[in-house]
């Protein structure tokens, strides 16, 4: 499976959060590393969209897309700061 980066889910995250999120700073709950969402590792077909920390590999976010809803798991994020 091709690893992409957070740029690839700019549209999806805008749908979920209601604003531009690729430049937002995401802090990993496991290792504390903070970097822009755009630099995180993204798997589009995992199943679901899986976002992992580029420093330690922990799962930061999972988005399961349904026909009319998105289920979002953010347990791996300590914080996310939109600019």
């Amino acid at each position: 499976m091709d690893a992409l980066d957070g740029n690839a889910i700019g549209g999806l995250l805008h749908e979920v959060f209601g604003t531009e999120m690729t430049a937002a700073a995401a802090m990993c709950a496991a290792c504390g590393a903070t970097r822009p969402v755009a630099e995180c590792v993204v798997y589009l077909d995992a199943p679901g969209v899986v976002v992992r920390c580029r420093s330690c590999g922990s799962v930061l976010m999972v988005v399961i897309r349904g026909r009319d809803r998105n289920c979002v798991d953010l347990r791996g994020l300590a914080a996310i700061e939109a600019r």
């Binding site: 091709d2 690893a3 992409l4 980066d5 957070g6 740029n7 690839a8 700019g10 549209g11 805008h14 749908e15 209601g18 604003t19 531009e20 999120m21 690729t22 430049a23 822009p36 969402v37 755009a38 630099e39 600019r83």
Partner: protein, 248 residues
Amino acid sequence: MAGTALRGRLTWQNAKVAAVIRQTARAVTIVLDVPGWPGQRAGQHLDVRLTAEDGYRAERSYSIASAPGEPVAITVERLDDGEVSPYLTDELRAGDTLEVRGPIGGYFVWDPGKDRGPLLLVAGGSGIVPLRSILRHRERTGSTAPARLLYSSRSLAEVIYRDELDNDGAGVTVVYTLTRSQPPGWTGHAGRVDAALLAEVAWPVDGEPLAFVCGPTSFVETAAQDLVELGYQPGRVKTERFGATGGR
């Protein structure tokens, strides 16, 4: 900075195909007429959604090829086993309708009013597309930031926007490297982008250059790491990965 245009919902809307311009045997530029389009920033992308007769949908992201202030256009390279790109490159005609949403992205963008320093642009294959938007924006805004583009392509025939890049104006240097085949008499670089080529082409770090690297995932990761090892600040090496195939 984000501005009100980026706030609020991102909605799918119908765009009319104004023109389809062939760039190479595998790549076309699709000019779109999108009602109410808020305007793009240099480096952004948009999402395209195709819906089959049975309701099956496929979505892909494509970088915007045109500069801010120009009609929105994407450049798409055909992936032979792709679900979406062969339709866009081979079937789509002017007058057709496409479902799109955008513009998208606030990280891989260049703003000449805010981003200082010489520009280093590193493209692998169709990774040239958002960098072309940046170069056009630089030209249109009269930016004096000097720019160097290092563009890796499999062959000269697969170089997208070649005429335009060969005629870039003052302050822009374009360096090609051809990885698979070189035409007879080729005096440019051959082979993949590596640390030695980057050391030769990249701006010295003391001028605080800003780098944008776009292309296949492994290409981007290697080039970005090489730049950091040359002394580039990680925060000034912006990256966008297209996956293993070099197209999204």
